[in-house]
Symmetry: C2
Subunit: 402 residues, 2 copies
């Protein structure tokens, strides 16, 4: 059973977050450090254009990791060979400053594309980070703040589970607001835990959990060059997780909780987002069909614009289901809109129901809306999360660079 917690540091970890000068005023570099060697796993952007740090991390992912060095303000993407060399340097400097073996540190960057990193600032930044490492919660909050770009708030999640009488802590933090979409969009997410678990089992769990969490959110359909999700396990809780056990189930549930919480926070901070939209698909023929349907609805510009206008536009939802590529029977679809103000059914077996437009408006004016799509094709379910499409989205993205 998961116990939701205020953010705290799992055993063996230290963190820091500082202003290194890549941004004008705000914190822009973070370091996560483990006192012992960690097992680890990562998932990375599927974009064909991968930033240098992603290429580096994909190469070193696995055992014997000691931490993560992160900068915001510059994505270190599309900067030719120099970019990769700089990513390697960042890892080396972090390893050197913390007296660890070379290549002990993952590297993550986020920010502007196509501009070379200022390595002087990066180097002195990492020194300061190493000097200010601390196990205090405050340090973790500094780190989670330092990775933000267009984010308007810090995104953190924490929970504990009991494994063999021991408390195991999982703590996550993430950044991301625009460009969020299935397949790991400009999004960095980190989970640190004191569980003892092999890198291979972590990898297996992370892959399937990311599929059901980060890959089910959509802000605008674009995936980025830098997306990375990393999990590091120090093992210092003493509790061991092995495959095909009750412990594995429990840990996976905890990991799902952390990643889902972070994913929803990212969605809520979607650039210009006014409303949080949850799309639940039930009774699909296969898991893939359920996922395709939920994502197609939550990603549709027309559906998103309708939610901006609090319009119970079931036609656009049915239409988005129709072009999703999923196999389903349109004549059997029920649709229900709900929020804290109640629920209203608008479609039954593919046919519109006469409904109270006033009641629908009241429900849809809320900040958090759920769309339930019930099929009668099978037993598979999926949930996707997104936000509405607003004037502010256009404004923010119309002048990002200028």
């Amino acid at each position: 059973m998961i116990v939701e917690e205020k953010i705290k540091m799992p055993k063996g970890f230290l963190a820091s977050g500082i202003h290194a000068g890549l941004k004008k005023i705000k914190k822009d570099m973070a370091l996560i450090y483990s006192e012992t060697e960690c097992t680890s796993a990562g998932t990375f952007t599927t974009n064909k254009v991968k930033a240098a740090p992603v290429l580096y991390d994909m190469k070193i992912v696995g055992d014997k990791k000691r931490g993560i060095v992160i900068n915001s303000g510059n994505a270190n993407a599309c900067t030719a060979k120099e970019g990769y060399e700089n990513a390697v340097k960042m890892s080396s400097i972090a390893s050197f400053e913390t007296k660890c073996d070379p290549s002990s540190f993952y590297v993550c960057s986020t920010g502007v594309i196509g501009v070379p990193l200022d390595m002087k600032k990066i180097e002195s930044g990492i020194k300061s980070l190493a000097e200010t490492l601390s196990p205090a919660t405050e340090s973790l909050l500094d780190a989670s703040e330092a990775i933000m770009t267009t984010d308007t708030f810090r995104k953190t999640a924490c929970c504990t589970i009991k494994i063999g009488g021991e408390d195991v802590t999982l703590t996550g933090f993430a950044k991301g607001s625009g460009m969020i979409h299935p397949n790991m969009a400009t999004m960095l997410a980190f989970v640190i835990t004191d569980a003892k678990i092999s890198s291979s089992l972590l990898k297996k769990m992370l892959g399937s959990t990311v599929e059901d969490t980060f890959n089910m959110i959509s802000v605008d359909g674009d995936t980025s060059t830098n997306d990375t999700c990393l999990v590091l396990a120090s093992g210092l809780s003493g509790a061991e997780i092995t495959g095909n056990t009750k412990e594995e189930e429990d840990f996976k549930e905890a990991l799902f909780y952390i990643l889902k919480t972070l994913a929803c926070l990212i969605t809520k901070d979607g650039e210009g987002a006014g409303r949080f939209i949850e799309v639940k698909v039930e009774g699909a023929k296969s898991k893939m069909d359920a996922r395709l349907l939920a994502r197609s609805v939550v990603s549709s510009n027309l559906v998103k614009a309708a939610f901006f206008g609090s319009d119970a536009n079931w036609g656009r939802i049915l239409c988005a289901m129709g072009y999703s590529g999923a196999d389903f029977n349109p004549d059997c679809v029920d649709l229900v809109f709900s929020s804290e103000k109640g629920a209203i059914e608008v479609l039954k077996n593919g046919t519109p129901i006469r409904f109270d437009e006033e009641k629908a408006k009241t429900i849809l004016l809320e900040k958090s809306i759920t769309v339930l799509c019930v099929l009668k094709d099978g037993n598979y379910n999926a949930t996707a999360w997104g936000c509405d499409l607003t004037y502010d989205y256009v404004r923010i993205n119309g002048d990002y660079r200028s």
Copy 2:
């Protein structure tokens, strides 16, 4: 050689367009009628949710057609069995009123989803349409006006070609503004011609031409329940087109001209569109890769929002190429922005070029922008068309139903 023409009626065709009362004031029904039996072909929405008239047309498509009856204001979609019966009735009434064999008429509907057709208005509307049929250009303009929904202008195209000394005319008209996307989004397009050509050859040509025209435009990524493109050939010019001949090439070029012109007009009328964007991909490994890349760029919300802000944001373009699913080498990409004000290269071999931001701004402030993406992977090219993402798009789609 194609001669572009002002709109005129091909031999043997008559048309009419009237107000039948489905909309409050504007024209809402159109009829196309041929004095002789036509060969014909059609392409239809790939959306799993297909409106009743689409299902009907797919069933009757082929030889011995006499015309098309069209209504706007109501899509006759998601209205259960009754919807299909009403589509059949529309065809029967049109056949009866024009003294043709039953099932001689295609049926197309566009407008609101989920509301049953008012068959009284439809029936008296078809009577009026039959009574006012005329070969005059003005009647064709009435028809092209009567099919509009959120369109802000009529969309027509016309050209002639010489086949065996005879003039062959191709005339097209279309509707569509929002929900335009690859795979035939809420879009109706009709081409009538006096060429003599078999339905099977028409079908073959139409399929591949639609792939390179209507399926390469994107306004917002949503495809609809009602999309239909129909071609009717009366044969009255006397000029015959047979397969694998110079005549086939010429006719195909003319058909491409008509459909491309209509597709670009639809894009220019994209809901809230401020700028027309053309994306050319050159040097791809395969036709499919070229198409995927061009469409991914033109469909990206972030790219579209950048064009709204006249921002030379090559990073978003490269990023959209990266997640397109196409195979290409990011390290070999050149990017050039151009408009009537000139051209500017911003990326060379995947690496940013220092460019004059002021000059870029001047180019991107124009109403019509071309993005050229040069790869060095092969010999395949593709072009896609779209528009920017604007405040008005959000406004229009935020209150469509209300």
